[in-house]
């Protein structure tokens, strides 16, 4: 995981997995950005190969926090066919802005 940010926006670059094991690590980094007052956040899934329901739940949690603050969550670069199909299956594309 890597995090890039400036005063207004941030990008969290994901590793290969988002699941039960590491979801809280992502949550910690996300909350640090929120504490800095950043509410325009992009999740970069370029490297992400798999995600489970607990990881998906965390992404929805991020979305909810930002919406409540009048901010915006975007997901970019979903390369993995597995992740694309999971998103489609649970209709996440209808809830979160995916590019």
């Amino acid at each position: 995981m890597k995090v890039e940010f400036n005063q207004e926006s941030a990008r969290i670059i994901f590793g290969e997995e988002m699941n039960l094991i590491n979801k809280e690590d992502y949550n910690d980094e996300f909350m640090k950005l929120i504490e800095k007052g950043i509410t325009d956040i992009t999740l970069d899934f370029n490297n992400l190969k798999n995600i489970d329901s607990s990881g998906l739940g965390k992404v929805l949690h991020f979305n909810k926090i930002l919406k409540n603050k009048g901010g915006n969550l975007k997901i970019k670069n979903i390369n993995s066919e597995y992740v694309q199909r999971v998103f489609k299956m649970i209709e996440l594309n209808d809830i979160i802005e995916v590019h």
Binding site: D52, S54, I90
Partner: protein
């Protein structure tokens, strides 16, 4: 007449200690079995991976108290049917009261079983709720 070899059932047992970083190893083993067997189950790699990932994560998160707790995995494969059964040492859960229909809700939790139900052809639990059995069925 069917070739008798088509109906052979291959059975495998795996044990997972309650460590989430071992889930990928089990999934790779299951996929290896599937790829080395002649079967007619459509789109099985994706469906099995989704289901196994969710089932094993649930078993660890809700069915185990200690990292040394053991989860038993039974996997059987034949030409027209694949069955994955997972038993955890936990207290089980009240599956009769759950809805397994996927709807686009914003809640953080409660999506795993719905995903398993969506990708499998049949999903069953034992009465106690600490064993799940899913079945994938083949074509003609």
């Amino acid at each position: 007449m069917d070739n008798a070899a088509d109906n052979l059932i291959k059975k495998y047992n795996f044990t997972l200690t309650a460590q989430a970083n071992k889930i990928n190893e089990i999934i790779n083993e299951l996929l290896k079995v599937v790829n080395n067997t002649d079967h007619s189950i459509p789109d099985i790699e994706f469906r099995l991976e989704i289901a196994a990932r969710e089932i094993l994560a649930n078993a660890i998160e809700y069915g185990c108290k200690d990292h040394n707790d053991e989860i038993e995995i039974l996997f059987s494969i034949e030409q027209n049917k694949i069955v994955l059964s997972v038993i955890d040492p936990g207290e089980g859960f009240n599956w009769q009261e759950r809805s397994f229909e996927i709807v686009p809700v914003l809640d953080e939790r409660g999506r795993g079983l719905k995903m398993i139900n969506k990708v499998s052809d049949e999903m069953d639990f034992n009465d106690k709720g600490n064993q799940i059995k899913i079945t994938f069925l083949g074509g003609k």
